[in-house]
């Protein structure tokens, strides 16, 4: 599915997830190459968020395997998967309500240096961390909100903080859960440019989105999920004209 040259960054083989009697994911196999932007679309309830949860280790797969850079991560706990290079944002924002924006940008960073340095004030524990946090502040235009407490922030700013936080974890792969929901055209375009820039710098992106225009304009590869299974994959153009896909969508309210 991806360009044959590089070995894949993330590979899912036959991944299934069941909750009691309900099959949320059925035999899902997909590959995400290095430096790719991949989209996952599908009607509501298709299992997209479950897919994210399985990839990040929030749910353990009922069957199948996941590898990150050829490292099997199927049994790993969330934090280990994140440290290995996968970060995500949430559909309903999950910030740390009592912490400031600056603190968000510090805490997500992988801690470099000896374990003991953790006990030191943040400044001395890892001086480079402050630099990285500063960069993220500027990149997302959050300088004015540096010391604001997360729960007091306006919605749009919260979303930026969520993404900025995910990026400070220095991921190889960024999972975005409906990043442009509720955004106007300007904001969506701004985000698209940001994502393209990050992609140029080497970041792979996997995103779930209902906004078709956004997906088609940004993603290089697209997977279509319906009832927990992949029903189609290809380039945006291929997907747009795929009769199976159209059928799945016309069967639910989320028409393009």
């Amino acid at each position: 599915m991806t360009t044959g040259s590089d070995k894949p960054l993330l590979r899912l083989s036959g991944v299934s997830k069941s909750f009691g009697g309900i099959r949320a994911l059925s035999d899902v196999s997909l590959t995400i190459g290095h430096n790719r932007i991949v989209g996952v679309i599908g009607p509501n309830g298709a299992g997209k968020t479950t897919l994210f949860n399985v990839i990040t280790g929030a749910y353990r797969a009922s069957a199948g395997e996941l590898t990150l850079d050829d490292e099997p991560i199927t049994q790993w706990p969330s934090y280990r998967i994140v440290r290995a290079g996968i970060a995500r944002t949430f559909q309903n924002i999950r910030l740390f309500a009592g912490m400031t924006v600056w603190e968000h940008l510090l805490v997500a960073q992988p801690h470099q240096g000896a374990f003991v340095r953790r006990f030191l004030p943040a400044r001395w524990a890892d001086p480079a961390a402050a630099t990285r946090a500063e960069e993220a502040l500027v990149l997302f235009g959050l300088q004015n909100y540096r010391d604001s407490i997360a729960r007091t922030l306006p919605y749009g700013v919260q979303r930026k903080v969520e993404m900025a936080r995910a990026l400070t974890a220095s991921p190889k792969l960024l999972l975005l859960d409906e990043p442009v929901a509720g955004m106007n055209h300007e904001e969506a375009t701004e985000l698209r440019h940001l994502l393209l820039r990050l992609n140029e710098r080497g970041l792979s992106i996997l995103l779930i989105e209902h906004d078709m225009a956004f997906v088609m304009n940004l993603c290089q590869d697209v997977y279509v999920l319906d009832f927990g299974a992949i029903i189609a994959q290809g380039t945006p153009t291929e997907i747009r004209t795929n009769p199976v896909v159209l059928d799945a969508y016309l069967g639910s309210e989320a028409a393009c």
Binding site: A87, R94, G98, M99, L106, V107, A108, L120, P121, A122
Partner: protein, 280 residues
């Protein structure tokens, strides 16, 4: 020169401060523990046994007691991982009661008759420990580690998904909290030179929580203020004679209604720091 009575009160503040801090440290990771008196009891009896029957010096005995208690704390923390909120609180309550009940039946160390024979330590010694641990925690509050603890407190799932090992953080907090409570217990034993299981029951655990919540549950300094309030308020209310406890209860409710975050919180401390910075 302060009277013996007042010295006793100050000793109480120091001991309560340590107990409050033990709850504070655990609460900082989002876990409410209503059973820290159990850790205090472990500390008190271990330390007392070591000084009275093994003739160890007090300081070494206290450290040993803290170690034993922290091991118990870590053991408790593992199953506690599965519980949240009020269920965790109830489990810790059960733990505290079990320790008290166990001590009641443990005749080797006195059982219901209590344990005695300890040498009294000075007020200065008590505050060396209390002040020292308070300072340690105040320093820790600025660390990277504390940032992680606060993230776990605010949203445990999100914390895991930004790469934090929430398990280690929560267990570590319990272990550390247990150690601090044990020191409180050891000091209590060597202040009152007689201990019995009833000293380490639910009322004691609730006192710790009360001190933290009243003083301010989001900063370490809150434990200090809360402890001072809890010890001195009943004294100041003495003039109410038989009704002073009711007055205390009323005051408690009033404080919670008007300032539920406690006397001090981060915002207040920041404001005070700003004012001091501005002053010439």
């Amino acid at each position: 020169m302060i009277s013996t009575y007042d010295a006793g009160l100050l000793a109480d503040v120091g001991i309560l401060l340590l107990g409050a801090l033990s709850v504070y440290v655990i609460l900082a990771t989002g876990q409410l523990s209503l059973g820290n008196a159990g850790f205090m009891g472990v500390g008190a009896y271990v330390a007392s046994f070591l000084t009275v029957e093994m003739h160890w010096p007090v300081t070494v005995a206290l450290l040993a007691a803290a170690l034993v208690s922290s091991i118990v704390g870590v053991i408790i923390a593992f199953p506690a991982l599965r519980l949240r909120g009020i269920y965790l609180a109830m489990a810790t309550l059960g733990f505290g009661e079990m320790v008290r009940s166990f001590l009641l039946g443990f005749d080797r160390l006195g059982g219901s008759g209590g344990y005695r024979g300890m040498q009294q330590v000075s007020l200065g010694y008590i505050w060396a420990w209390a002040g020292g641990i308070l300072l340690l925690i105040l320093m820790l509050e600025r660390s990277r580690l504390w940032l992680e603890m606060r993230a776990v407190h605010d949203d445990e799932t999100a914390a895991g998904l930004v790469g934090l090992n929430t398990t280690l953080t929560k267990i570590g907090a319990f272990g550390f909290g247990a150690a601090v409570a044990a020191i409180a217990g050891g000091l209590f034993a060597h202040q009152y030179v007689y201990i019995e299981p009833g000293n380490f029951g639910f009322e004691r655990s609730i006192d710790f929580v009360l001190a933290v919540i009243l003083g301010g549950s989001t900063v370490g300094l809150g434990a200090l203020i809360g402890s001072a309030l809890l010890v001195f308020l009943p004294e100041w209310l003495r003039f109410l004679a038989d009704w002073r406890l009711a007055a205390f209860g009323t005051l408690l409710i009033l404080v919670l209604l008007t300032r539920p975050q406690g006397v001090v919180d981060r915002a207040l401390l920041a404001k005070l720091a700003l004012r001091r910075a501005k002053a010439p």
